[in-house]
């Protein structure tokens, strides 16, 4: 590997990403050759070597600022342009991009906000960022065939308890300390961002027909969804509702939940359909023997 090229690229990387700009980066840079930056980069009367490198520094920062503003539009609206600018500066210093695609640039923003200085000023921001990030990830998650009511009806109800169910790939659940789902829904509808109320919530985020949806779920459904994502049996999933005091009729509650899941399209087709097909085949053999 060409050492000179390696050193040059490492130097330029440090200067382009210096949080205070190229001039500040040059002040604390220890890897400059004799002759300074001018010995590496050509400058002229129109524009100096440092100014030329600053063009790249600006493009680096503002490109990522735009990407993050696009990915976290509610976070940006919540804090305003100046604070978002500063927030991104700090974030990129702590979490510089390492992946080939800008898709991953905001992967750690919620983590950063959870521990960064802005958490004192805007304590709900990390939760809001976590929800916006989950939406992005669900949007591009793997496609999964979705179980529909017709496929489910093809399996006799007596067999359902033993059938294993699996959630679709485009499905996430996040826990928050602030009611950010309502705040984001209101903002996404075109209204001015309004700070969320404090309060624990569990939010289900999923994709159906290329659109991403999210809603708060209660503790019973959260337990059921966790089992669904692990590929548990339908009986085990239903057991999540034991003790749901709000439901006078647990069976009705389970049926309502299942109908909702089928409507939302969050149950994968493969396992259920396969299990149903096997059962049907055994039944057919039984019928043939009789």
């Amino acid at each position: 590997m060409p050492l000179q090229l390696k050193n040059t690229q490492a130097l330029l990387y440090r200067l382009v990403t210096a949080s205070g700009g190229v001039a500040e980066g040059l002040e604390r840079e220890r890897g400059l050759p004799r002759g300074g930056l001018g010995a590496v980069i050509g400058g002229d009367s129109r524009i100096t070597a440092a100014a030329r490198l600053s063009i790249y520094a600006n493009m680096y920062f503002f490109r990522l600022l735009e990407v993050l503003k696009d990915d976290f539009s509610a976070v940006a609206a919540a804090v305003g342009a100046a604070d978002f600018h500063n927030l991104v500066t700090g974030y990129l210093t702590k979490y510089p991009p390492t992946e080939a695609s800008v898709f991953w640039a905001g992967r750690y923003l919620a983590d950063y906000l959870r521990t960064g200085p802005i958490r004192h000023k805007v304590p709900y921001l990390a939760d809001l960022a976590a929800l916006e990030r989950a939406i992005i990830e669900v949007f591009c998650a793997r496609d999964t065939a979705v179980l529909d009511a017709r496929a489910m009806r093809a399996t006799v109800p007596e067999r359902w308890p033993s059938v294993r169910m699996r959630g679709i790939a485009a499905l996430q659940v996040i826990e928050t300390q602030w009611r950010v789902a309502l705040a984001l829904r209101t903002f996404s509808a075109g209204r001015k961002f309004k700070a969320p109320a404090r309060g624990s919530s569990t939010i289900l985020i999923w994709r159906r027909d290329a659109k991403v949806f999210f809603r708060e779920i209660d503790a019973f459904e959260a337990r059921a969804i966790a089992k669904l994502r692990r590929g548990a049996g339908f009986g085990a999933i239903c057991a999540s509702f034991v003790g749901k005091s709000a439901a006078r009729d647990p069976v009705a509650a389970i049926n309502a939940m299942l109908a909702r899941w089928l409507r939302d399209g969050i149950v994968a087709d493969a396992r259920f359909a396969r299990a149903g097909a096997k059962l049907d085949a055994r039944e057919r053999r039984g019928i043939a023997r009789s």
């Binding site: 090229l5 330029l12 990403t17 590496v40 949007f139 998650a141």
Partner: protein, 287 residues
């Protein structure tokens, strides 16, 4: 071995961009082909791949990447290249291209296209990496000349000598960005026509046309303006020199209605057609 004849003439296309998805899928506008930004579709599933499948069912598609970082001194990103190969198997593009630049160092990414010193050492370094990338991708790729705002003291050759040397040593094709040549000619005070005249015609598969911003002391390759007259004039020069080369209109910011891009593609076609009456067989001329 790279053969120019292996790459079809696709005509006059535009970049596939999100604001136009609905229009394209609903209206099936008259356009010869689309270029995708590869990284936008290197995802597991969902809407982007649905759109891509629908578009490629109707139009020829080529893949244009921004993250190969072929000039970096970091190790080649094999996971990225395998992801690119997987997308190419799904998409079956007419070709794959990326930039003659570096975009990361020390394991980090700049998400920008930085220029390289133009010298023999860099030629050997980059050409070896392009050859390796071509092995992984199981095809010859195109490399694109980038716009730049700085030059290196370590350069010992002109940019066009560098582009030519890399393409020949790597045995790859060239995507010639006419706007980038125009921008660099202003920023670094050289003749854009001399640049174009020195590029080996037998390796040029595609042209890019785009808009730039004038910052007084320098031009910035922003892809957010209409193509300037000077770039159109340089394109005419290139068309005369290179004969039939697939041409693409790039527009990445402040993206206008699809009709504006389609009109630019039609203008490129008119320029191309105006020279077809007395075509220059550059392959014969440069032999």
């Amino acid at each position: 071995m790279f053969q120019r004849a292996d790459f079809p003439f696709l005509g006059f296309g535009v970049g596939l961009r999100r604001p136009h998805y609905a229009h394209i899928l609903k209206r099936h506008p008259e356009i010869d082909w689309f270029e995708i930004i590869s990284e936008n579709f290197m995802v597991a599933g969902g809407r982007p791949l649905e759109v891509l499948d629908a578009v490629r069912a109707q139009y020829p598609v080529v893949m244009h990447g921004v993250s190969m970082s072929i000039g970096s001194t970091d190790a080649l990103d094999l996971a990225y290249l395998r992801g690119l190969r997987a997308l190419s198997r799904r998409t079956t593009p007419a070709w794959i291209s990326d930039h003659l630049c570096w975009s990361g160092a020390s394991g980090h990414r700049l998400h920008d296209l930085l220029p390289l010193p133009h010298n023999e050492e860099t030629v050997r370094h980059v050409a070896a990496r392009i050859r390796r990338a071509q092995e992984i991708l199981e095809r010859h790729i195109l490399i694109e000349n980038v716009s730049s705002y700085l030059t290196f003291r370590a350069s010992t050759m002109t940019e066009w000598e560098f582009v030519r040397a890399v393409a020949e040593e790597a045995d790859c094709g060239i995507l010639l960005d006419i706007n980038n040549i125009f921008v660099n000619a202003f920023n670094h005070r050289f003749s854009a026509e001399e640049y174009i005249d020195a590029i080996p015609s037998e390796r040029v598969v595609q042209f890019h046309l785009a808009g730039h911003s004038d910052h007084g002391d320098y031009l910035l390759d922003t892809h957010d303006h209409p193509i300037r007259d000077g770039v159109w004039a340089l394109y005419a020069h290139a068309v005369r020199r290179f004969d039939a080369v697939s041409t693409l209109i790039e527009w990445d910011d402040n993206i206008p209605a699809f009709a504006v891009l389609a009109a630019a593609a039609r203008r490129a076609r008119r320029i191309h057609d105006s020279f077809q009456e007395q075509p220059t067989n550059i392959h014969a001329a440069s032999a």
